[in-house]
């Protein structure tokens, strides 16, 4: 994935756009980043919001994304609503959300109809089986990338919580709500206790 920021962004880092985007501009911008986003929209969202439109500085973007990441639900959907509403209130949130989700939902619904019609065709079955094997590998790679910081700072408590959730959901196959209603308070208590100990 081409990742590094283009030279234009380095030349003028702090000249943020001064006029707030209109509802139509919000809709079109989020539709564009969504349709460009194969295998995750985040990279494209950052590029459009920070580098191209200059609606936020990199720090503001990171802060907003961090908020959306620790809230439940699809991160990028949360980001679109929080971002849009910051500029244009609730209507802005709805416009950004509709841009992000509307056009790809149309595409995916068409694909779903095609799959319902042709899903039994042998060649298609074989292709999808291959794609799904590779896609699972991609997901596993993301998991290991996310684990690296915990491993580097030898966060044994964090890794133990991680392993417990993994076993409860992945191996024992308990319902998500039940596991999280136990795990979230526990993990919060641990995080608070660790912080107290560091502070003391």
């Amino acid at each position: 994935m081409p990742s590094d920021s283009p030279p234009a962004a380095i030349a003028a880092p702090e000249s943020l756009s001064s006029t707030p985007p209109s509802l139509i501009v919000l809709f079109v911008a989020f539709a564009k980043m969504s349709l460009a986003g194969f295998g995750g929209v985040l990279v494209f969202a950052r590029r459009a919001i920070v580098d191209h439109h200059r609606w936020m500085s990199a720090d503001e973007f990171n802060e907003t994304f961090a908020l959306c990441h620790f809230l439940p639900g699809p991160n990028i959907v949360n980001l679109s609503v929080v971002f849009g509403s910051r500029f244009r209130g609730i209507a802005g949130g709805v416009a950004a959300f509709a841009g992000l989700v509307g056009p790809p939902v149309v595409i995916v619904t068409i694909l779903a109809a095609l799959y319902a019609r042709f899903g039994e065709v042998d060649a298609l079955r074989r292709i999808l089986a291959g794609v799904s094997c590779a896609a699972v590998g991609l997901l596993i790679a993301v998991v290991f990338r996310m684990m690296m910081p915990l491993i580097r700072r030898r966060d044994l408590v964090g890794l133990a919580v991680l392993a417990a959730v993994f076993v409860a959901i992945g191996v024992v196959r308990l319902p998500l709500a039940a596991v999280l209603l136990a795990a979230i308070p526990l993990s919060m208590a641990i995080a608070l206790a660790m912080r107290r100990r560091v502070a003391a």
């Binding site: 969504s34 961090a66 908020l67 439940p72 639900g73 989700v101 991609l138 996310m146 964090g158 991680l162």
Partner: protein, 178 residues
């Protein structure tokens, strides 16, 4: 209300509730989607679930659109729309509310603590997604090998993930995955 009667209602409350528990994003909720769609309601078979995951990864847009495909399999276009909105709207309203509160009370130490608590949970959930999907997708040893190879390449390089999906599709088309 009898939820067996109209699958649209079942979709709405299933995904509406799931959206509030999807810590770390849509990919964290995949084991729950599999449990509900395959084991509990028998909306999809195991291979169909793997196919639906593959299609959602091949399509542009946010990962959450896997629920659009599940919804379509249950109740056509209406099911697709209801599943998508149910999975997005409750958490979007929550995000809107929280972001308003946070901008007002500028610097609280709670975000950092919540983040420290939730990061290991969300990684554990995504790991479980990887396991559940590997068990549904990798039914032959060559399939397992493709998954392992894709994982190593994606972890070690910055190759565009789309190329790995295309490579997997070609290997599948060539009949090497079975």
């Amino acid at each position: 209300m009898n939820s067996d009667g109209n699958p649209i209602w079942t979709l709405a409350w299933t995904f509406g509730l799931m959206s509030l528990f999807a810590v770390g994003g849509a990919n964290s909720a995949i084991p729950e989607m599999h449990r509900v769609a395959v084991d509990v309601h028998h909306w999809l078979s195991d291979p169909q679930f793997a196919d639906v995951f593959a299609i959602s990864q091949l399509s542009p847009g946010p990962n959450v659109l896997i629920v659009t495909l599940i919804g379509y399999a249950v109740a056509g276009v209406a099911g697709a729309l209801v599943a998508t909105l149910s999975m997005c709207v409750p958490t979007a309203i929550l995000a809107y509310g929280v972001s308003r509160v946070l901008t007002r009370s500028s610097h609280s130490r709670w975000p950092a603590i919540i983040q420290a608590a939730l990061v290991p949970l969300s990684i554990g959930l995504m790991g479980a997604s990887g396991l559940v999907l590997a068990l549904t997708s990798d039914r032959t040893w060559t399939a397992g090998l493709v998954t392992a190879a894709a994982a190593v390449v994606a972890f070690a390089t910055r190759l565009n993930p789309l190329w790995l999906l295309v490579a997997g599709g070609l290997l599948g088309f060539a009949g090497l995955i079975g």
